[in-house]
Subunit: 146 residues, 2 copies
DNA sequence: TTCGGTGCAAACTCTTTGCACGACG
DNA sequence: CGTCGTGCAAAGAGTTTGCACCGAA
């Protein structure tokens, strides 16, 4: 019980699937493993490609279906970084964070900032909103590119 | 000259087109008028539909092409509000602002917050980024929906 | 046997592009 | 004329769905 909140992604996913009367198939396992192996913002097709490279063929459709399940159980989240693709990032085990993106090289860093968060809570309150989520993107040119 | 900076969108667009050796056709005029008539986040297809209702038929492709021009000259900007569509909003004559969205009814309000802006400048600096742009989205439940 | 799950291909949605025609200097 | 712009339809890109087969309880 001391381990509450320390479940692995796989365990969480398994619990979620069980609750829905679904099972952790090999394909789903491959997809989730691939997603959580790489700590990076990823696009649906990246997963298909990465798995294909290892000769672990999972149908495109299955990847999409699994992604949807992972979204449903809150393990991953869509992020928009101005690009034209739909990116995902893992949420489990990671504090809420924002993104700072280099418009030149495309590099994305994550950061957290308590002051920013507090201010956002404040704005929500001032607007009579019950805050559920927020996101901040900063765009600029990184040190390397300057 | 006292009017510098008070040009209408149409004038700005016209200037932009001239600079590129392009002209303000009737279709382009219809599209830009439609876009700036409604102060609301809009999607490409909304424009096609709205014009069609007034029997002002402009081909879908032309709308897309005009939108691209308007983006190029900075009159409109893509915004991502978590939806699956590509929305645009006008930037001319509007201060930079952020969005606070109700996840229940989809209502979107705009706000500005100097403290937030200042903090973002600070974060960029701390990360050695030359700041070029930023965006903040707050999601929650609005007063009406509660 | 019964379902859920998978793979494949077709369908769908939004957007872009190729092409021929039309407008305008 | 020569070019730019338009409309149309086809092509693309990413994602979803219908359907037949497969596989575990």
């Amino acid at each position: 019980m001391a381990d509450k909140g320390h479940k692995t992604e796989l365990e969480i996913f398994l619990g979620f699937l069980n609750k829905r009367g679904k099972s952790l198939t090999n394909q789903r396992k491959l997809v989730i493993e691939q997603i959580f192996r790489v700590h990076k913002h990823l696009e649906a097709d990246d997963i298909v490609q990465a798995l294909r490279k290892k000769n672990q063929r999972v149908a495109r459709a299955t990847v999409y279906r699994t992604i949807k399940l992972l979204e449903d159980c809150g393990l991953i989240k869509k992020v928009d970084l101005g690009s034209d693709y739909t990116y995902y990032e893992h949420t489990h085990g990671h504090l809420h964070h924002e993104h700072i993106c280099c418009e030149q090289c495309g590099m994305v860093e994550e950061f957290t900032d308590p002051v920013l968060e507090e201010r956002i809570r404040r704005v929500a309150k001032d607007n009579n909103f019950k805050l559920t989520d927020h996101s901040v993107q900063i765009f600029g040119i990184c040190q390397n590119c300057m």
